[in-house]
């Protein structure tokens, strides 16, 4: 019993990270219909910015702020400079997805060039080894912080999207771009905000993941793929779905590692994608892909 709870808790902690990644993917998919393959890499470069600042002994909050800003700026710049132009020239969705892949490769190159490919460790104020016993289970300070970050990110995004005027404009723009334009909503600004917020959520995931392992130019690849799987599981169109899918994936992964075999842990995400696409292509909470005529 303790073992089950312990592994479930570890899974929830990993799931919170996946949720942050998945929310960003879904947010961008919903608003621009583009699958952003550079999502993880934007987080990587921003995390390296935090790394540089932390090794220079700048305060953690400054480093966090700077890396969030870096992520948001890279996302917005890519949207405004590359995607908007491509769209204006009539690029189709596949073309734009390939552009995000290109951005991913460019960022990887830049990170390797600036910071090198050697794994480094991120000096982080929250400890991975200090633990607390809660009832039957033991939880590290870092997993607590990770779960808190996941919760904060999800709730913050919920409040932004559901409770503010900007969020209303975001929902309107993502549902019917043309109608939003004709209502005089500054759609380009609204979409830029979506890219900024989505990228920043990914950066939060990167910052909290980095101390658990070593920082290298490709450390976000795995969480990005997991986040993507979680988004597909929850429904690519649904923000709550992204969170639910991510938590399920995190727990399922952890339990698979514990009770089946550790080698299977990483495969599980893709098994889930295949099963979901076969059984319920719209995902757990996604709306069915059908048009009312």
């Amino acid at each position: 019993m303790e073992r089950l709870l312990q592994y479930a808790l570890t899974g929830l902690s990993a799931g919170s990270l996946y949720a942050l990644v998945a929310l960003g993917i879904v947010l961008i998919y919903r608003s621009t219909r583009v699958l952003n393959f550079a999502h993880g890499d934007i987080a990587t470069v921003a995390t390296f910015v935090a790394f540089t600042m932390l090794t220079r002994r700048l305060p953690f909050w400054a480093a966090l702020g700077a890396s969030l800003l870096t992520g948001a700026l890279v996302g917005v710049a890519f949207y405004l400079v590359v995607l908007v132009r491509a769209q204006r020239r009539g690029a189709n969705l596949l073309g734009m997805v390939i552009l995000t892949l290109g951005l991913a490769l460019i960022i990887q190159g830049v990170v390797v060039y600036v910071w090198g490919a050697e794994p480094v460790s991120l000096p982080f104020p929250i400890s991975d080894t200090r633990t607390y016993s809660v009832g039957l289970v033991v939880v590290s300070q870092l997993s607590l912080a990770t779960m808190a970050a996941g919760l904060l990110g999800s709730v913050g995004l919920y409040v932004l999207v559901q409770r503010t005027r900007l969020g209303l404009a975001m929902r309107a723009t993502s549902e019917n771009l043309m109608a939003a334009q004709t209502l005089g909503i500054p759609t380009r600004l609204v979409l830029s905000v979506s890219w900024a917020v989505a990228s920043a959520l990914g950066v939060v995931a990167g910052i909290f993941l980095a101390p658990a392992l070593l920082l290298d130019p490709f450390f976000m690849l795995d969480p990005f793929l997991k986040g993507f799987a979680a988004a597909v599981l929850g429904g690519l169109n649904s923000l709550p779905g992204a969170v639910v899918g991510a938590l399920i994936l995190g727990v399922a992964e952890s339990l698979t590692g514990a009770y089946l075999t550790i080698q299977f842990k990483n495969t599980l995400a893709f098994v889930i994608i295949i099963v979901v696409l076969l059984v319920r292509p719209e995902g757990l909470l996604g709306r069915e892909f059908k048009e009312r005529v």
Partner: protein, 259 residues
């Protein structure tokens, strides 16, 4: 009356080679209801979308002036901010949002005091919208959706309201309700540019009208004159003496129009 919108010999192309509009000129005067009639594929919707700035790099030729400002080539958001409100054929609603949220989006960018008054006016005109405020727009009937689209458009205090086929898909009785509402909106001083296939409804409410066929304006004039025109009566209103084609040559027969 002065011209509010002047469209001068515009040409709009799709995919840079398919002509949709061939030098169309239309003048909409301040305060009137102007109807554009015509068959499928005549370019009616294209004309509205060109004016609203929704077709990139269009019109290719010609000019569009609104309130003495040249607006062709502007971004749709900028055109919308001038007070040109376009209600597309699919009504442009946000179907996943509630009725109240849709109306709130109609108030985007407005900070004036009259917001509550205008909202009350819309609810007075369409009480059903108040009743269904918390419902998703998708769950409304066709007529209610059209009312929501009209109500939302009104909240923008349009100087020019452009409507694409407001009667489409509505039961005749519901369509008449919508048109009565249009009359009420017009009486508040709003200029309306209307595209419609249902000529009878449109000519009943419009002051002036034009007939668009294959991308050209073929007839233009006062709505009452058009309603009397022999060809219009025959082709669009389906009344008056339809000449029976001679039995022997009916296959080759195509009604000759006098425009």
């Amino acid at each position: 009356m002065t011209a509010l919108l002047t469209v001068t010999s515009i040409e709009t192309l799709y995919f840079d080679r398919i002509y949709a509009l061939f030098g169309v000129s239309v003048e909409v005067r301040d305060g009137e209801i102007f109807a554009i009639l015509g068959p499928n594929g005549a370019g009616k919707t294209t004309l509205l979308r060109t004016i609203a700035g929704l077709l990139k790099d269009q019109p290719k030729k010609g000019t569009i002036h609104f309130a003495e400002r040249r607006i062709d080539g502007w971004q749709p958001e900028a055109i919308a901010r001038l007070g040109i409100v376009y209600v597309p054929e699919d009504r442009g609603l946000f179907k996943e949002l509630t009725v109240a949220e849709n109306l709130e989006l109609g108030l985007w960018g407005r900070r004036d005091e009259a917001v509550t008054k205008d909202l009350d006016a819309v609810y007075a005109l369409f009480p059903i919208l108040h009743e269904r405020g918390r419902q998703q727009a998708e769950t409304l009937s066709g007529g209610e959706q059209q009312m929501l689209a009209l109500g939302r458009a009104m909240l923008r205090r349009p100087r020019l309201l452009m409507l694409d086929e407001p009667s489409l898909g509505l039961a005749p009785r519901v369509a008449r309700t919508v048109y009565e509402a249009l009359g009420a909106i017009s009486r508040t001083g709003t200029t309306i540019l209307l595209v419609e296939q249902n000529a009878r409804l449109a000519l009943g409410v419009a002051h002036r009208a034009a007939i668009l066929e294959a991308g050209r304006v073929v007839l233009e004039g006062a709505a009452s004159d058009l309603a009397e025109n022999r060809d219009v009566r025959e082709v669009y209103l389906g009344i008056g003496g339809v000449e029976q084609p001679p039995a022997k040559t009916w296959r080759l027969y195509r009604k000759r129009r006098r425009w």
